[in-house]
């Protein structure tokens, strides 16, 4: 009951944050020096043409008017027309977002599950060799730049061994395998997904793994672990019901911080594997002063960050009864 009230208050806070976030994403890009018309027609622009373009893009009006119009359109789900693609931003982003989602969501889920499981196992393991090997592997992965790991994987598995494709989401010429869920259920797609997914998973895994491992190691020295042992609880029960359950807390705390890492890694992996997702669109939009695209992309990432934080807050309150539910 108290938890439900707490969740509601978190959601209210989330709404308030979004209310600040929306005008902020709009104003942020107006503050960037440069002009979208210059990006379209080049540096030797004719002032008359520029005026027409500025009018067409709606950037000739005062900032306040632009903001009000933007908010009004946003209320109808309209993110505006991309200057560059001449298509509605919402339409472009919907497709890209889907492509990114099918790569990122499984990668995060796998990384969290595998990371916490391996971290817990190695911390509780009485074989110190296993622990050392896993820990050093995690540090090595963490220390390697992702573009290097990704390129190396392409070199080995695609070019040398020719097991997996290195580019795109599906084999050219096989046509569009349909949209939505149908697209995911093609073996061709899964085959293309394997390598980038493995790289992304590997990229996310060290943080939860190492955090879990350290927290477990510390927890195993707690008094309640000693008491549980003295009570004759089975070792497996002591480790999972007591130690691992408590060690999950710092892993959950880590999740919002991982969101930033996620976006950075996503951009690189999509570039290396020519994956038609959001990551590359971000870079593209910024380079071409495509205001509506930028706003759309950053609004989405902002929403993602706010959502993750809210979910983590609620999850944390659920997992740790000591959190004050007010």
């Amino acid at each position: 009951m108290a938890l439900a009230r707490y969740a509601l208050s978190r959601l209210a806070l989330m709404a308030a944050t979004i209310a600040v976030l929306v005008p902020l994403t709009f104003l942020l890009f107006r503050a960037v020096p440069g002009d979208p018309s210059a990006a379209v027609i080049g540096p030797n622009l004719d002032p008359a043409v520029q005026g027409v373009l500025r009018e067409r893009y709606g950037v000739d009006e005062p900032l306040a008017i632009q903001l009000v119009k933007y908010l009004g359109r946003l209320a109808h789900g309209d993110l505006g027309m991309s200057f560059q693609y001449k298509r509605p931003v919402s339409e472009i982003l919907a497709g890209k977002l889907f492509n990114t989602g099918v790569l990122v969501v499984p990668a995060i889920v796998l990384a969290l599950l595998l990371g916490t499981a391996i971290g817990a196992l190695t911390a509780a393991s009485r074989r110190s060799l296993l622990d050392r090997v896993v820990r050093n592997a995690a540090f090595t992965v963490k220390a390697s730049p992702i573009f290097w790991t990704a390129s190396l994987a392409v070199l080995l598995f695609s070019l040398r061994l020719d097991w997996l494709p290195s580019v795109g989401m599906r084999t050219p010429g096989q046509g569009d395998a349909g949209s939505g869920l149908a697209a995911i259920w093609s073996t061709d797609f899964l085959w293309h997904l394997a390598l980038p997914l493995a790289i992304m998973t590997l990229f996310f895994m060290p943080e939860p793994l190492l955090t879990m491992r350290t927290a477990m190691k510390e927890n195993l020295h707690e008094d309640f672990i000693e008491l549980a042992q003295a009570q004759g609880l089975r070792r497996r029960r002591v480790i999972y019901w007591h130690a691992a359950r408590n060690a999950l807390l710092p892993v959950v705390t880590l999740m919002p911080a991982l969101t930033g890492v996620l976006i950075g890694g996503q951009v690189i992996v999509e570039t290396v594997f020519s994956w038609p997702g959001m990551g590359r669109e971000i870079v593209n939009a910024v380079n071409t002063y495509d205001y509506p695209m930028m706003q759309g992309v950053f609004l989405l990432t902002g929403l993602l960050a706010v959502t993750v934080n809210t979910v983590v807050d609620i999850l944390y309150a659920y997992l740790d009864p000591r959190v004050r539910l007010t």
Binding site: L227, A230, Q231, L233, H242, R245, D320, T326
Partner: protein, 620 residues
Amino acid sequence: MTPPLLEVRGLTVDFETAEGRVQALRDLSLTIERGETVGLIGESGSGKSTAGKAILRLLAPTARMSGGLAFQGRDLAAVPSGDFRKLRWRELAFVPQAAMNSLDPVHRVDRQLMEVLRTHQPMSRREARRRAHEALESVGIRADRASDYPHQFSGGMRQRALIAMATLLRPALLVADEPTTGLDVVVQDRILELLEKVKQDMGLGLLLITHDLGVAAELCDRVHVLRQGMTVESGTVAQVFGQPRDPYTRRLLGNAPADGRRPEDDGVDGESRPTPTRQAIVVEDVAIRYATGRGMAALARRHEVSAVDGVSLTVHEGEVFGLAGESGCGKSSLASALVGLAPLAAGSARLGETEIGALSGRGWRAVRPEIQFIFQDPFQSLNPRFTVERSVAEPLLAQTRLSPDEVREWVLWALDAAELKPVDRYLSRRPHQLSGGERQRVAIARALVVRPRVLLADEPVSMLDRSIGRDVVDLLRRLADDLGVAVLLISHDLSVLARACDRLGVMYLGRLVEVGPTREVLDHPRHPYTHALVRAVPSEDPNHRRPHLLLPGELPSAMNRPAGCAFHPRCERADTDDCRRVTPDLLGNGHRVACWHPHDQAGQSILPAPEKSTTERSTT
């Protein structure tokens, strides 16, 4: 002849450390029969906890153990770990110290009891819950609290839950490791009573590990005194406490009589000293409130908690004033306010001539050298990277403009006054090279170095071994006598206060309920609460058997303070409407009390101790 319940023969434990082998326990031998309580007593590092863990097979993997352990005639060393797991809790149970983390913070208390039950006996969830609640009920935790999380319990409730847990399967042997350390006396009293009761009900053997001689004297039939892993003395309580043979035991017992009277004391306190005249601290009608709740709720008046309410007291120069009371009674809040860490909600506080209630941050800078604080934990209050010289010089560098030579001179003086001798041996040491007692002396030197008018010591010895703590308290007393500094000594331990204080104030839920000369208050307590507090202190004299007083109920939270006299729900004398409606004022001359029905001035209790809540303990 049946073999003893537990027989320990020549138990020796070594630890492998980076510096080589460390012997933690050497050649311990003892036996415990059913229905018997055996005490292992000693200070920190004596190996008493190691012995308990060795019996329960809980030692770290780096430990090497030798010697014989036989449980009901069965050689425990020969029991493989799979079988030993089944022996655990069914036969050998354990009551740890009630520190916050003896219970898993993320699981409900009843769930943790159910877990134990279901590990050892196949039973339905429902049946396990019923038995868990029954066990908690038997230690006075009602069903509506049974499903709380550990952090929602008070220290005493946690300890009772741990005892309920330990006795779930009616074990044959119970090892209790410091079961009352860190608890207030009144709560401790209840735990001791409970341990005694489960021992008798279940006829189990109890191994009691404690540093508290009073607790050992009350509960044990026989004791073993350990020092640095060696047994220095053992025997019945009457032998060891009555005629201690070993000098170490004598030192532990202290040359003070059992009730903590100071040795050089010739009876009448207060009057025997020249009456000091200059007032160092005058607190008048002070209230301290804290906001609770978060966000906008914190701003509303009804979300305020009154930590201290209507407290007045005066401490003179050269006087040691003691403040007693259970945790949460507001004594530390008062101390915080006196050093400017908590704002006064009402009333006034004067330090010498300066009114400190209204001081600004800048104003505080000027008076700060006048009042200095000594913290509870000497392991955390010193910067581990500073040498002793640097730590003690710190306040001088911050608060004065002395030359380096003068700073050094003052530091040497302060260390000398704190009796860290020879001084030059300590100057360049760092905290990790010092013992707990030495660290606390460094903290005292650091407080003294600016030559304050007032020393505030909040539980300065509660983290130290008893004999070390006594020395530190005696030092504070001498500082008051020799330097004329006023000392406000805060402690929950009456024997500490009795040792050093001229006058004593007792607080309950934010109010002073009794004030007077120390001996007066302790020998003839007039407030029923003080009465309970004094009677709850375990006596180290094995011939003196006190009834367990068992103050009923829990200390209420300051958030819902009972109306009228806040003590009335737990008071055996509260009978009139006045008690329930009107807060009594602190009345009297010299020895003052805030109660509608105080005990007789002459000291003898008007009411006999009530029969129902009394448990006489049979002597061996």
